[in-house]
Symmetry: C2
C-alpha cells in the first residue's frame, strides 16, 4: 500500500508517491500561482497526483491516503485551511475539494508541523519521544512532535516558536509583537545583523567579500569571514549564535525534547554552528549540572523531501 | 476504591485520602524538617499515611495507589527524585523507600506538574485538551497537561516556563540565565518593582500605605494603590501586567492551550488583573484576528488541595 504526500507552498505544489517506510518513489511539481482561487490550485494538485499515479502504472486503489502540508492554520478534523497568509487561503475546504477528484482520505496539517513530523518519523529525530524542529529561514518555522504525534494545541495553531518574545520591547515583528525570536535568529535577521556591522566596519573582510556592495550580503558571509579570522565577522557570528541559543535554551527549559532538529541554510556550517550552540544550551539550562540528560542538537536530514514525506505519513 | 495523595513541600508534608472523583475526605500534615535525611522524611510520610488510614477505619487494601508530588526533577518510571534544591534530595528512591512501609504502587512527579494536573482533572481546566497552569509566587511554577497527561519532556524536567528568557541580557536569575520570565512576573518581581517605584516616588500612596517602610511592601500593595487612583501604583500594575502578559502570549503562541490557569496570591485581584491580561494576549497573538479561538484565562480553583489531589490522581 502506498501514500500520497503534497507539499503546498507559496511557489510550488509538490507531490510525491511514498511507500510504507516513507521513501518517495515518484514526484513532480507545478507552480502554485498563489494569487489564484483555491479551487484552481486544488484542481492542479489533483491533476498532478493523478498524472503521477498514471505515470507509475498504479491505480487510486493502490493508495491509502493523501496528506497535505499547507502554510497557515489548519482545521485538521475538518480537513480545512482556516487561514494562511502567503497563499491567501481563508476557510478553504481542502479535503472536500480534493475529494471531488480523488476518492481517498485526505489529511491536512501545517507545513512546518509536517516537516517536523517527517524528521521525527524518518529523519534526525527518528525514535525520539519528544522532538522540536526549527527552520531558520526568512522567519523561524517550527514543529513539535510528542509521542509520535504532531502537537498543535487545541486550535491547531500552536508551535509558533519564532513568535516567542525573547526581548521585550525589542524589534518590531510583522506579527504585531516586539522582540520575537525570529527577528534575532532567522536567516533574515543574520543578514540584517551582518549588514549593520559591515556598514559600521568598512574595513572588514565582509565588505571585501561583497566588493563593498552590502546588498550582496547573505546569511553565510559572516561565517565565511569569521572562519578567515575577520573580527567583525566573528562578532556577528558570536552574537547570532547567542540569539539562536537563547531561543533553544528556552525550548529546552519548556519542552525538554529528546532531540532538537535545526534546518535552514545556516546548518551547512555544521559544527562551527552546532558546537557553540550546544555549549550555550548546556550553560543556560539547569539539567546538565545535575547529570540530567538534555536534548541532542541535530541538523535536519529530510531536506526538500520533508514536506512530502511528512504529509504522506499523516494519519487521522 | 480510594487513593492517597502526598504533597511534599519544603515546609510541610501534607497527606490526603482521596475518593474516586478527587475529593479529599481526610487529611493531615507534619513539618518536613527539610535538613533531614530522606529516609527520615519518607518514614514520617509513611507514618502520616498509616495514621490517617487508621483514623478513618480503613485498611491499606482499600487504596489503589499513593501519588507523591515533590519539588525537583523526578524519574517517574523509577519513582525517584533525581534532584531537588529546596529539600536537598539527590537520587532519592522515593517509591522503594515508601514501599518499605506501605505495599502499594507509588507514583512520583514534580509538584508543579501535579498541581497543573489537579486543575486539569478537577479544577479550572477541567476537560481541556491542553492546559498550562502557572503559579506566580516566589518564582513561577508551571505545569503542562496534554490530552489528560502531564507533559514533562523526555527527561521529566520540562515545563520550566519561569525560566524562559523574555529579556536577553536582562536581570540575573538564580538559574544562571539572564532575563528569565520569573524575574519580571513572579510575586517577588512585583515586590521588587513596587519597592523601586516607591523609593523613586516618596509622595506615592504606596509609601503612605506602608508608613514609609518599604520593607512592608508586598505583591498586593501596588494593586491597592492603583485602585485608589495612585499614579505610581497604576504604573507598577500596568508594567507588571505587561510582564505577565508577555509570557502568557508566548505560552499561547507556543502551546495554544485551551485553558491557561493562573495561581498565586495576585489572582485575588480577579478581573482587575485578568481583563488587561486577556487584552494583552489578544493583542499579542495572531489567532484572534483570524477568528481562531484562543486560550481562556482562568484563576486556579484547587488552592492548597491541588498538590494532594493531583498526586492522588497520578497513574502509571
Amino acid at each position: 500500500m502506498f501514500y500520497i504526500g503534497v507539499d503546498l507552498g507559496g511557489t510550488n505544489i509538490a507531490v510525491g508517491l511514498v511507500d510504507e517506510i516513507g521513501n518517495i518513489f515518484s514526484k513532480n511539481s507545478v507552480p502554485t500561482h498563489r494569487e489564484r482561487e483555491y479551487s484552481e490550485i486544488i484542481k492542479d494538485m489533483a491533476t498532478l497526483i493523478l498524472d503521477l499515479i498514471n505515470k507509475e502504472g498504479l491505480k487510486i486503489e493502490d493508495f491509502q491516503s493523501i496528506g497535505v502540508g499547507s502554510p497557515g492554520v489548519p482545521n485538521c478534523s475538518e480537513g480545512e485551511i482556516v487561514y494562511a497568509s502567503n497563499i491567501k487561503f481563508r476557510n478553504v475546504p481542502l479535503r472536500k475539494e480534493l475529494q471531488k477528484y480523488i476518492n481517498l482520505p485526505v489529511y491536512v496539517n501545517n507545513d512546518a508541523n509536517v516537516a517536523a513530523y517527517a524528521e521525527s518519523v524518518k529523519g534526525a529525530a527518528k525514535g525520539a519521544k519528544c522532538a522540536v524542529a526549527i527552520t531558520l529561514g526568512t522567519g523561524i518555522g517550527s514543529g513539535i512532535v510528542v509521542d509520535g504525534k504532531i502537537f498543535s494545541g487545541f486550535n491547531n495553531a500552536a508551535s509558533e516558536l519564532g513568535h516567542m518574545v525573547v526581548e521585550m520591547d525589542g524589534e518590531q515583528c510583522g506579527c504585531g509583537r516586539r522582540g520575537c525570536w525570529e527577528l534575532y535568529a532567522s536567516a533574515t535577521a543574520c543578514i540584517r545583523q551582518t549588514k549593520k556591522v559591515a556598514s559600521e566596519n568598512p574595513q572588514s573582510l565582509i565588505n571585501k567579500l561583497v566588493d563593498g556592495d552590502l546588498n550582496k550580503i547573505d546569511a553565510k558571509i559572516a561565517f565565511d569571514a569569521a572562519k578567515r579570522g575577520d573580527i567583525a565577522g566573528q562578532k556577528i557570528v558570536d552574537q547570532y549564535i547567542k540569539y539562536i541559543g537563547e531561543g533553544l535554551a528556552n525550548i529546552v527549559n519548556i519542552f525538554q525534547p529528546e532531540v532538537i532538529v535545526i534546518g535552514g541554510g545556516v546548518c551547512k556550517e555544521g559544527e562551527f554552528l552546532l558546537a557553540p550552540l550546544r555549549k550555550h544550551i548546556e550553560e543556560n539550562t539547569f539539567a546538565p549540572s545535575h547529570n540530567i540528560k538534555i536534548a541532542e542538537l541535530k541538523v535536519a536530514q529530510m531536506g526538500n523531501d520533508a514536506g512530502i514525506v511528512g504529509a504522506a505519513m499523516l494519519r487521522e
